[in-house]
């Protein structure tokens, strides 16, 4: 299967088509909406299911040194990528230090839905991956926020970290749920999974479809309202930066000797940008930064790019690099 076939196969999968439907409905100004509570419920379901399955996989495969290496690599990437992103933004766009730092934080962190979509592409390609990659994803959520705060502090402005902010960053809902369900899956193992399998395994792809429909609606609404913000430089950054992040992820994955599937997921983590945890942290830590810039870029440009073209590219490259 060559790159084009792969890209097309991915583009014509139900989850991408659902995203496209949402995007279309929002851009066409249809009144289709998914209630906030339902969208949040679905995201809780997805986090719980992906964490639990990851924990069970670690219980089955056993704990390994590679896992620790991958965790450290993930944390390092999350700290380092915002610095690259910040440098690029200062060169490619006219954003202020503050806005640039806020955007940079998003690109060091990760998008769990892009990760999930990546695992689903691997599944349909018949490839396996290490269950603990979901722990790497959790570890990469927060460090990027600290890098961004450091970038701002260096330039003299910015708020001091207080203990509330620390707690909000390290114990934010998605980290707690992901790590918690990972631990539960690890403790209860395959017997635990057997009891809730028909809840978290079989309906998973279907829930992901409806969730991506909502993501498409939200992204589309964002794009509609933000035509003035998306200048060429910013747009180019939103597509260039995931490719850089994916390259860094690939280097880490190959360096650690991971298999094809896990290298691809490492690339996805490097490439994806946060749109839930980091924006919330930015509203507290850097309230003067403009939320429409970072939300539009992360959700309206990078997320669709990764979902439609990125995943296919990362898989092809991961295959090439690992001979898988």
């Amino acid at each position: 299967m060559d790159l084009l076939d792969l890209a097309l196969g991915n583009l014509l999968s139900p989850i991408i088509l659902c995203f496209a439907l949402g995007l279309f409905a929002a851009l066409a100004r249809s009144d289709l909406t998914i209630p906030e509570a339902v969208a949040k419920g679905m995201s809780i379901y997805l986090l719980f299911a992906i964490g639990f399955k990851g924990g069970v996989a670690v219980d089955t495969a056993g704990f390994s040194g590679t896992l620790v290496g991958a965790l450290l690599a993930g944390v390092f990437l999350s700290f380092a990528l915002p610095l690259i992103a910040f440098g690029l933004l200062r060169v490619m766009t006219a954003l202020s230090t503050l806005d640039a730092a806020a955007v940079a934080a998003h690109y060091g962190s990760i998008s769990i839905v892009t990760f999930v979509a990546g695992t689903s592409v691997l599944d349909s390609a018949g490839l396996t991956y290490d269950g603990w990659m979901v722990a790497v994803a959790a570890a990469m959520e927060a460090p990027a926020i600290l890098s961004a705060l450091w970038l701002v502090a260096r330039s003299g402005s910015g708020r001091q970290m207080d203990s509330d902010l620390w707690r909000e960053i390290l114990l934010n809902g998605s980290i707690v749920l992901l790590v918690g369900s990972f631990a539960i899956g690890w403790i209860t193992g395959p017997e635990g999974l057997a009891r809730i399998e028909s809840f978290i395994v079989s309906p998973f792809q279907g829930v992901l479809c409806l969730f991506l429909l909502d993501m498409g609606l939200v992204a589309g609404r964002g794009l509609r309202g933000a035509r003035g913000i998306l200048r060429p430089g910013l747009l180019a950054f939103g597509i260039l930066m995931p490719l850089i992040g994916a390259t860094a992820g690939a280097a880490a994955g190959v360096g650690l000797g991971l298999g094809t599937g896990s290298v691809m997921l490492m690339m996805v983590l490097g490439a994806s940008a946060s749109y839930i945890a980091v924006p919330a942290a930015m509203r507290v830590a850097l309230p003067e930064a403009n939320p429409s810039v970072y939300l539009t870029l992360s959700l309206g440009v990078t997320f669709p790019f990764n979902l439609t073209l990125g995943l296919a590219i990362y898989l092809a490259v991961a295959r090439m690099l690992t001979g898988g």
């Binding site: 909406t33 998914i34 209630p35 906030e36 339902v38 969208a39 949040k40 995201s43 708020r159 509330d164 909502d214 609606l217 939200v218 309202g225 933000a226 749109y275 839930i276 945890a277 924006p279 919330a280 930015m282 509203r283 507290v284 309230p287 003067e288 403009n290 939320p291 429409s292 939300l295």
Partner: protein, 103 residues
């Protein structure tokens, strides 16, 4: 029915700052407040609605706080210290209340 003069303060603020504002109000000696959900809005940072959102970054809350007239200034100072760097709106109205001993 016997009523007593008071002030009704309404603070529209980002959801992320809700807990900080509430703590500041309590620390300033306010005896109570009520938090209303907000569905959407418009301002200098554009138009938004809550429909289908999954993050908490976008949402807002309306905090309504009724106080005795003499407590107004302490309240406003407390609120302002939180709202200062954030988007949000503070408005004050003269009102009458029943059961003044509660405020």
């Amino acid at each position: 029915m016997q009523t007593h003069p008071a002030k009704r303060v309404e603070i529209i603020i980002e959801e992320m700052m809700e807990s900080r504002l509430c703590e500041a109000l309590l620390k300033a000696g306010v005896k109570g407040f009520t938090v209303l959900p907000v569905h959407g809005g418009s301002g200098r940072s554009g138009h938004w609605t809550r429909a289908g959102q999954i993050g908490r970054a976008g949402g807002m809350r309306a905090v309504v706080c009724i106080v005795r007239p003499e407590a107004l200034d302490t309240l406003l100072n407390a609120a302002f210290s939180v709202v200062e760097r954030h988007i949000g709106v503070v408005s004050i109205v003269d009102c009458e209340v029943l059961r003044a001993e509660r405020f």
